[in-house]
Structure formats: structure tokens, C-alpha cells
Symmetry: D2
Subunit: 387 residues, 4 copies
């Protein structure tokens, strides 16, 4: 029996946040070396949350060596190479600015910040600090979506006419769903627009290119929600929702393509329907995250009578489709997209390459979201400047 | 052996046009007495088309007793009770006005006319003439759609948040597809907007109610098309497409609901995808004409863990679902919706009742379509007046 | 205005039965001349049913010129060219034998008769009588199924490995569903086997070829059912179901392919799921009548990474797919398959050609069904002789 | 900053094998403590494979502390609590017997062994050794399948009439696919029957209960396959496939239900279609692993006109559906089922409880598979004894 030697090629993570996204990222850090056979070692060094209880239990559960209730200790630690920001949105900017200043590479959850201006300052900071940066638009890393990207880039769809995208959920229809931070503009920035709409706007840019103008209609269907209280004997107080519940957008792309986008937490029965259809002069693709292992592809070059949408079950023949499982049909879930995103970024850090999606993508998405807010207020089309 | 006596309860049809819609209506006239057991007799009396050849062959094929190349003879004939207008759009108004003046009941294909103003004059004429009128929004008469209507009207979906509708086809992507009348504004009025968009706008009104404002983005992707020529040795000439190929619309309903609508002949792979999703505070419905025998219904009143979209295969337990076939799953096609629409209207004529959809619906749809055109030109929201 | 001349090319129908199948056939007789532009005229001459009431109301509703309560008058009438048998199964043989003897061409509903032996005598009779014959396996005439046939015949699927077919319904699960003739062997022959299983066995033969052996497991889940009584004050009596409710079959084809077949009226939620999947060395096809306008086609000759089942929405580019409707997606229902079947047969009669499916197909199916019954009883594989 | 204390509640794993299943299990060992918040620590202690190269690289990649090329060292090690057998099938028995003798708890991949007799000896050994045992029927641990189990156990489907199950793949259609061990009976036992059929037979037992008889038809479509050779300059040799490529089975359950089962590697386009439909007197369920986050559920207790299959997207309201992800629609993949299976077993070990599925299930499945082989050879029904 022999003792195993551990890889010297090592990255040390400082995690901020212990919620669901921190869980996903931490699992990915465990999985990556086992899946991607590249001799990478990832050390979960420090984890922070706002209370000692949260930080300590997060560390025990997720396997970090140390914990703290001050994120400043993470970004300043000499034991940390990469700071991974999984906090509510309002902390993204301060943590990222401090990390960049300390020369830490940065992974940041989406949306990048509360506004385009904040996002711009973050993008400037990582450029100034010469650090690598990643915004967690993990949904790009779905094999079906990457296959769609390949199909479009090789001209297989021809000239693009239409992009129709939506990200629909239904949890907020429940009036008793409490006033969590996602319903407050000072913490979340926007509502469904930033929380889920940012992903579909990212898809639009990733797959069809930059939009030049938008017109939007936003709604807040439930304007007061109960505030969660520690004291269950008190009558529940309510507070005001000051962000959007649903957004619908018409988009004009620089390429001439037309777009429609919806983001809503008020579509009953749609649990996580992040979907798009892209139609061009030679064919179409359709994707729905609820059936994330499938890409629907239509080609007009198939012989007459045999044309139709082909349901490709993604697998080893598609980008990243062979991760973990050697045959199609064993499936991807959320975690596999995170595995790919973080693996690719960490490899970039080790090899001194800047990968995508990064803070530029986070910033551009923020500019479009700002235009959506203005359009809704002014009831007209708003042009998107080039940056 | 006995000789059969024929019903005295008889309606005599004068058909104008011999194309696909005339075929559908004529088949319906043969089918209705056999399917709907009400002792109605329908006589196919006269058929007209612009040439003798077309009129004669139409009469022989479709079973009309007489034929003519002058529609005026149809609207003036004493042998005709109902004039059925299946011509290109520009003839709808003159034929309808003359029919109403002669006291004929009228069935008119959609869109009702070239503009809201024309449509208004037709609606005024049938009121003045005290005749019954029908606009052929036959897609309403799908059991799945009528079931959706019932579900909404009984409050089963609660307050409506979202309407998303589209009518997508792909035949016009082919650059060699000729410049038929559907691509010319002087004959068709509009392009995909009136041809197919009118059906989905009718669904919006039928199911969610009147819109109060729209903003739209219209496109003509292929601006020149070949002109069909009798002489195949000549180089084909081309002519200008002066109508829309695709339209995308944001809609605001008077009820507070948000809407998005697309009509396009440029969605590769979508052959006749007339679809809608309506989501409310208690549930949702989804329908797609390409799977027209199915209604997807989501109710939030089902117990937790068992909720989801239920695929109802329509049949005898749904409105008109037992027509012809005694079990679900034997299916409806286009003709069955026409059977229902025309049967209901003829019954209305016999029983002196005005049925829906009628010229008022055709007119209201025209008002919305006019607003879409203005919005696209002026790049802003346009309010829909009440009429 | 001119009076229309009627075609001289005429076929006169004598219908026996006034139920649902008689309705479908009668509608087809009205539709065929309008749809298939061949100058055919079809006269609905006489209709018979066992009582004067049924026959008279059938004639009025379905448009036959005369009626009678004796089917013998139909088969003997000089005014009849084609006898169309839409009665319960036990009358198929006597009516067919008499028709053949009188030189009438015959359309007969499926299953052809109560047993293989009866079916053989019918097949012999039409050969002896030199009349044209048709068994109403109308489901063959679905464009998607005919496209599958073409795909197989051109070798596109390669060597066939698997046939999996089923015809599933659920109406008989209801214990209160009465003891109609379909549950009695003396009238129906068999239960789900002959009523619906015959269609899927016909598909197996049509698409994959002759089977050489079967092993089967049959069940009668509900053994007593209420007898419908005219006197509603009496306590309902019950009677014994002596046919199968469900059948499952393993099949060995002469080509080497393997088959599994199920026919059942006890599959909750399956309303009319007549489906098959055929897999070969180069590809597969899948069809489900509940989505009858779609053929799922998989080809291994598509490039790696883009393979998958293609959902072909049948239309003008598929066999008979342009019937009535010029674009895919307008849909077929049960009636369109009847239109095609009867049109093709009548054309054969006029042009002195014997078409398929015919009494030979009805007889071969009966031989397989007899083997299924024997196998279930003897609990072993039964070989199918060649005939 | 504080240093994290590690849990005292610890299990030490000895892994045998470094292939795809070892990868899946090893990832699960990393994920379980992070996902299931129970303070469990799992140590990856030793890993073995047949060569030093495989063992060493497996250890480095998968994170085991030590490695060896002798599995005997794993089963004898005092540092190991659980032996996890992920080898080809022929090694399952010897490793399991030795592990049980040494008092190690055992996880064994499926099928349990080459024959029912071998499986029996393994089941006897774990009982004698008083160790906990698990057979890796991980597909049971899918939330949709567990929800189906709940629905059946609570009587929601009523009396079960039908089970139709299949596990279909297509990789073996390629004639150039080499003669790997899965095609040799001395290593694999059987072909598709044991490799994939065992999972669907396990589903049948798990969901409907024990079968009492089977009749089967097995085929080997490709009888010679190329042998992979290290020397690429040599002409490839071929060897004989002596196991089944495809199996079709009729099954009779003790409850009275009928079953049909197919397992095949020759269904083009089916990549990993492990599916079942179960129909009873009150409803049905349908599941397909290719859409593993969905359970289709039909209840006859829904009001008329609203019945249909409901597509439940599994999530927190279903068994284990909230693992990792707090909302439905984020999805499960293969790894999540392994996480659940191994977590549950390890918890059982720690709490001295025997969990399911275990060696008894592996043994019973082996008995059924033996009967399938005998039935295919003797061409008749074979009864399954009770054990």
C-alpha cells in the first residue's frame, strides 16, 4: 500500500457567504479535481458570514479550514488566492473593490451590482488590480447552450431574425412569501429583472450579440409582504416591495434581429423555465432549462418531408457534455454548470488567462437593465450606448 | 325500402371565392347536418370567382348548384340567405356592404378589412341592415381554447397576471416564395399582423379582455420578392414587399394584466404555432395549435408535491369536444373548428340570434392592429380608445 | 349565372349500420369529391339498420336517399355499387358473403370477422366473386405512418431490430361501464385484442412484415358488468365479460426483428394511444396517434452531436399530408384518414384495381389474433403458419 | 479568524475500482457532508485497482489517502469501515465474501453477481458476517420514482393493472464498438439483461411487487466484435459476444398485475431511457429517466374534463427533492441519486440500521434474471420461486 501524493498545482479559496450559492460553489470545489483530470488541487481556506454562528456552521458543513464573521479578513488573508462572493447583491461592490485592491482574483455572483455605475466601478477595479474576474452566469455553461452557441457561430442558423427569451418562476405568487432581501431595492437593486432576468439578458448577448435599444413594461403585482419576525406571537408586520415582480421587454439587436424577453416570478407552474428560441434564415434552436439536457435544433437543409425540430440529448459529443458521465441521458443539473464555470476560471487563473463570462459581461448586462428601468418609467424606447 | 324526406329547415349559401378557405367552408356545409343532429339542411346555391374557369371548377368540385364570375350576382340573388366571403382582403368591404344592403347574412374571413375604418363601416352596415354577421376567427372554436375560456371565466385562474401569445410560421423565409397578394398592403392591408396576428389578438381579447395600450416593433426581413409570371422563359421580375414579415408587441390590458405578442412568418420550424400562455394568481393555461387537442392546465389548488401542468386531451367532456368522435384522442383538425363556427352561426340565423365572433370582434381587432402600426412608426406606446 | 354539371364518374353506396363508423364513412363520402380533385361523384343511395327508427333517422342525418331495416335489401339492390359494412362484428361475415355473391364491392370495418376461419371464408368469397374489397384499417392512412413506411422501405432504418407497439385506452376501467356488445365473444369475437389490438397488429405487419410466432398474456380485470335495461326502476342486472380486457404479446418476426405489443382498455390516462417505435441498424421512428401529425425520426447518419429524434410535423411533403390543408400544422383528425382510405378504394373500384388494406390483411390479422388466444391458453409460444 | 473543528462522526471508505462508478461514488463521498447537514465526515482511505498505474492515478484524482494494486489489502485494512465494490461483475462475489468475513460493511455495484447462486452466497455472507450491505440500484433514489412509490403505497393508483418498463440504450448498434467485458458472460454474467435490465426489474419489484412468472425473448444481434489491441498495426481480431443484446419479457406479478419489460442496447436514439408506466384502477404514473425531474401522474379523481397526465417537476415537496437546490426545476442528474443512496446507507451504518436496496434485492433480481435466461432457452413461461 502506498501513500498518495497531492498535487502542487493549488488554488486557495476564500468564500464570502454560506447560503445556497456558497454551497453550490463549495461542492464544485470538491468535485472539480475529481472530474477534470488535470492535477488541480483546490483548498477551501476561509469562509465568512455576518455572524459567528453562520460562519462556523458553514465552515463545518462545507469543509473550510477557518471561519470568520468579518469578510475583510478573507480579502486581506495571505492564504487566499481567489475571493468568491456569494452574498446579497449590495455587498458585491465593496467586497470586490477590496479584493481587487488586495490582488485577489474574484468570482462574483450575479447580478454584478445594484446599478450599471457600481458595475462599472467593479470592472474598472479588476482591470486596475490586474486580477482575474468571473461573474457567475453559470447557465452559459450548459452543454445544450454551448452547442447552440457553436451552431450560431458557425453560421448554421444563417442571419438571425428572432430571439425570444424568458426566465419564469412562480414562488412569489404566494402572498405570504415574506419580504426577503430580494424584494428590496436597496439590497437587491431590482427584482426579477436582476435576479433572473440578468441570466436571460446574458443569453441574449452571448448568443445574438449586443442590443441597441429596449422598451419595457414592468409590474409589481404584490406591493406589501409580511416581514419575518423572530417573535411568532406578534402580529406579522408588512413592508413594501419596491422592485419589479415581472418585466417584459422588446429588444432591438445591432445585427437587425428582433427580441422579446420576459422575466417573472408570477408564472404559475414555471419553476425555473429559463428558455430561449432563436430563429434565423437557415434554422432555429430552442432551449428550456427545465429540460436542460436537450437542445431542439431545426435545420432547413434537411430534405423536404424530414424537417423538424431535432431533440438533441446532450452528451460527450457536445461541449462539456461528457463531464462526469460517458453517455448522453445521464443528465446535467445545476451543479455541473457550476463545476464547469469554476473549473474554467480556476484554470484561467493558474494559466494567467482571463476567461468569460467576466465583469465586463456583468457590467454590460447592468447597462441593459438600467435602460429597462428607464424605459418602463418613461414609456418609450431607450437606446443602449456602446461602452 | 323507403325514400328519405329532407328537412324543411334550410339555409342557402352564396360563396364568394374558390380557394382554400372556400374549400374549408364548403366541406363544413356538407358535414354540419351529419354531425350536429338538428335537422338542418344547407344548400350550396351559388359560387363566384373572378374568372369563369375558377368559378366553374369550384362549383363542380365543391358542389354548388350554380356559378358566376360576378360576385354581385351572388349578393343580389334571391336564392341566397347567407353570403360567405372568402376572397382576398380588399374585397371584404365592398362585398359585405352590398350583402348587408341586400339583407343577406354574412360570413367574412379575417381580417375583417384593410383598416379599422373600413372595418367600422362594415360593422355599421350589418347593424343598419339588420343582418347576422360572423368573422371567421375559427380558432376560437377549438375545444381546448373554449375550455381555457371556461377556466378563466369561472375564476379558476384567479387574477390574470400574464398573457403571452404568438402565431408563428416559416413559409416566408424562402426568398423565392413569390410576391403573392399577402405581401401587398393594397390587397392585404398588413402582413403577418393581419394574416396571423389577428387570430392571436382575437385570442387575447377573447380570453383576457380589452387591451388599453400597445408598443410594437415590426420588421420586413425580405423586401423584394419574385413576381409570378405566366411566361416561364422570361427572367423573373421582382416587386416590393410593403407589409410586415414579423411583429412583436407589448400589451397592457385594462384588467392590469401584461401581454406580449408575436406574429411572424420567419420562425423556422414553426409551421402553424398559434399558442398562448395565461398565468394568474391561482393557476395557468397553455395552448399550442400544433397540438390542438391538448390544453395544459396548472392549478395551485392541487396538493403540494403533485402540482404541475396537466395535459388535458380534449374530448366529450370539453366544449364541442365530442363532435364527431365519442372519445378523446381521435382528434380535431382545422375542419372541425370550421364546422363548429359555421354551425353555430347558421343556427343563430335560423333562430334569429347574433352569435360571436362577429363583425364587432373583427372591428376591435382592426383597431388594435392600427395602433400596432402607429406604435411601430412612432416608436412609443399607443393607447387604444374604447369604442 | 350558369348551372353546374355533375360528374358522370359515379359510385353508389349502400351503407349497413348507422353508428359512429357509419357517420365517419358518410362524412368521408361527402368530403372526398371536394378534397380530391378527380371529378368523382359519390351517391349515398341506401342505408340500413335493424329498426325502422334507426334506419330512418340515419338516412335523414347522413343524407342517404333511401332506408330499410333489412340489410338484405342493400346487398341485393341494383342501385348499389359498394356495400359498406359498419355493423357489430358478428354480422360482417353474412353481409360480406351475400354482397360478394351479388357482385358488390365491399368495405368492411375491422376486425374482419369473429375468427380466422370466418375471415378466410370472407377472403375466399371476394376472390370468388371478383369484387374489390377493403378492410377499414384506416389508421394506416395517417401521413406520419405512411412516411414511416417510406422510411423503412427505402432502407433508411437499415435492418430492423425492434418493434414496440401498443393501443391503449381507458374507458373500460369504469366498473359501471355497461356490458355492451364489445364485451361479448359471440358478437365481438375478442375484446381489446380485436377492437384495438387488430390495428396495432396491422401496423406491425404493414411496417415490419409477417410475424412467425407469438406468446401472449391476456387478462379480464372486470368479469361482471351491468346490463343496460330499458326499465330504469329495476335493479340493474349484470352479465359476464367473456373477452379480454388487456393483452400483452411478444412477437418474433420472420425478418429476425423482435416485437412487443400491448392492447388494453385499462391504461388510465391513455385515451387513444395507438403508438409504435421501430428501431433498426441506421435509425428509428416513433409514432403516437394522440399526436398524429408528428413523426419522430432518428437517423444515425446525422453528424455526431446533432443526432436526436426529429419531430416531423407532417404536411404537404409527406404522403397525403397536403390533404385539405396546404401547410403543416393545420392537422389531421380521424376523418382525414377515412377520407384517404375510402377515396383510394373508390378510385380502385373505378379503375379496376385492388387496393390495400384489403380482406387478405383482415384475414392475416385474424390468424395472428387466433394464435394470441391459443398462446394465452396454452402458456407457450405459438407459431404462425404461412397462408 | 477561527480554525474549524472536524466532526467525530466518521466513516472510512475502501474503494475497489477506479472507473466511472468509482468516480461517481467518490464524488458522492465529497458531496454528502456538504449537502446533508448531519455532521458526518467521510474519509476516502484506500483505493485499489489491478495495476499500480490505475490505482495511483485513481487515488490522486479521486482523493484517496492510499492506493494498492491488491483489493485484498482493502478488505483486510483496519483503516476501512466500508468496502465499496466498483469492479467488473465477476469480482463482486470474491470481494464481497472477503469483506463480509472481515466484518466490513459493503456497497456493491449492480448486478450483484454473475448468477442467482452467486448472489445467494453473497446475501448469506453479509447475514453471517452481521455487516450492513447495499446494492447500487441508485435509480430508485430519484425523487420522481420515490414520489411514484409513495403514490402507489398510499393506494392512490388503486389496484395495479399494468407495469410497462424498459431500459433502452443504443451504443452497441455500432459494429465497431469493441468487445469490452460487458459482452462476455464469464465477466458480465449477462448482457443488457444484467447491465441495464436489472435496474428496470428492480423498479418492477420496488413499485409493483414480486413477479411469479416470466416468459422472455432474448437476441444477440451482433455476434462478433473487434478485440481492442495495444498494437495498432495489427489487423484487429474479433471475438464472440456470448451475452444478450436485447431482452423482451412478459411478467406476471403475484398481485395480478401484468408486466412487459424490455432491455436493449439496440434502440437507436434512446440514450438512457429507463422508463416505466404503471396503471391502476384509480390512476397512472409515467417516468422516463431521460426527463428524470418529471413524474407524469394521472388521477381519475380529478373532475371530468380536467383529467390528464400532470407533469410534476420534482422539487422540495417530493422525497429528497430539495437536495442541494431549494426550488424545483434546477434539476437532478446521476450524481444526486448516488448522493442519496450512499448517504442513506452510511447513515444506516452509523446508526446500526439496514437500509434498502440491499443484497436481498440484488439476489431477488438475480433470481428473476436467471428465469429470463431459462425461459428464452426453453421457449416457455418460467415460474419464479419464493425465497
Amino acid at each position: 500500500m502506498q501513500t498518495t501524493k497531492r498535487s502542487e498545482r493549488c488554488i486557495r479559496i476564500g468564500q464570502v457567504g454560506t447560503g445556497v450559492m456558497a454551497l453550490a460553489h463549495s461542492i464544485a470545489y470538491s468535485n472539480i479535481p475529481q472530474i477534470f483530470n488535470g492535477g488541480i488541487r483546490i483548498q477551501k481556506k476561509i469562509i465568512a458570514d455576518k455572524t459567528n454562528e453562520l460562519a462556523k456552521s458553514g465552515a463545518e458543513r462545507l469543509g473550510y479550514e477557518k471561519w470568520t464573521n468579518r469578510w475583510e479578513e478573507v480579502v486581506e488573508s495571505e492564504e487566499v488566492d481567489v475571493v468568491d462572493i456569494c452574498t446579497p447583491n449590495d455587498l458585491h461592490m465593496p467586497i470586490a473593490l477590496a479584493s481587487a485592491k488586495n490582488g485577489k482574483h474574484i468570482i462574483c455572483e450575479k447580478p454584478l451590482a445594484l446599478t450599471a455605475q457600481e458595475s462599472k466601478s467593479m470592472y474598472d477595479a479588476v482591470k486596475d488590480g490586474h486580477v482575474k474576474h468571473c461573474v457567475a452566469f453559470n447557465y452559459r455553461m450548459t452543454p445544450a447552450v454551448l452547442e447552440a452557441k457553436k451552431i450560431i457561430e458557425t453560421g448554421t442558423l444563417g442571419e438571425i431574425f428572432h430571439f425570444r427569451g424568458s426566465y419564469l418562476q412562480d414562488f412569489a405568487i404566494d402572498k405570504q412569501f415574506p419580504l426577503v432581501w430580494r424584494f428590496k431595492s436597496n439590497i437587491a437593486g431590482t427584482g426579477s429583472l436582476g435576479d433572473i432576468g440578468s441570466h436571460i439578458i446574458d443569453y441574449a448577448r452571448f448568443l445574438v450579440g449586443e442590443p441597441i435599444a429596449v422598451v419595457a413594461n414592468n409590474k409589481t403585482f404584490i406591493k406589501e409582504r409580511p416581514i419575518q419576525s423572530a417573535n411568532r406571537n406578534q402580529a406579522p408586520k408588512t413592508g413594501t416591495v419596491d422592485v419589479d415582480d415581472a418585466v417584459s421587454i422588446l429588444m432591438q439587436f445591432s445585427s437587425g434581429a428582433m427580441g422579446t424577453i420576459e422575466a417573472s416570478r408570477f408564472y404559475h407552474g414555471r419553476k425555473n423555465q429559463l428558455s430561449f428560441e432563436i430563429s434565423g434564415s437557415k434554422g432555429s434552436v430552442y432551449f428550456d432549462w427545465e429540460r436542460r439536457n436537450e437542445l431542439q435544433f431545426y435545420s432547413s437543409e434537411v430534405s423536404q418531408g424530414h424537417r423538424g425540430f431535432t431533440k438533441i440529448i446532450t452528451g460527450p459529443d457536445n461541449p462539456y457534455g461528457g463531464i462526469l458521465w460517458p453517455i448522453p441521458g445521464l443528465g446535467m443539473s445545476y451543479i455541473e454548470t457550476t463545476n464547469v464555470l469554476l473549473h474554467q476560471f480556476i484554470l484561467g487563473v493558474l494559466e494567467n488567462r482571463q476567461t468569460e463570462p467576466n465583469f465586463y459581461d456583468g457590467f454590460k448586462t447592468a447597462v441593459i437593465m438600467d435602460a429597462v428601468l428607464v424605459s418602463d418609467k418613461e414609456r418609450k424606447w431607450i437606446e443602449i450606448g456602446s461602452h
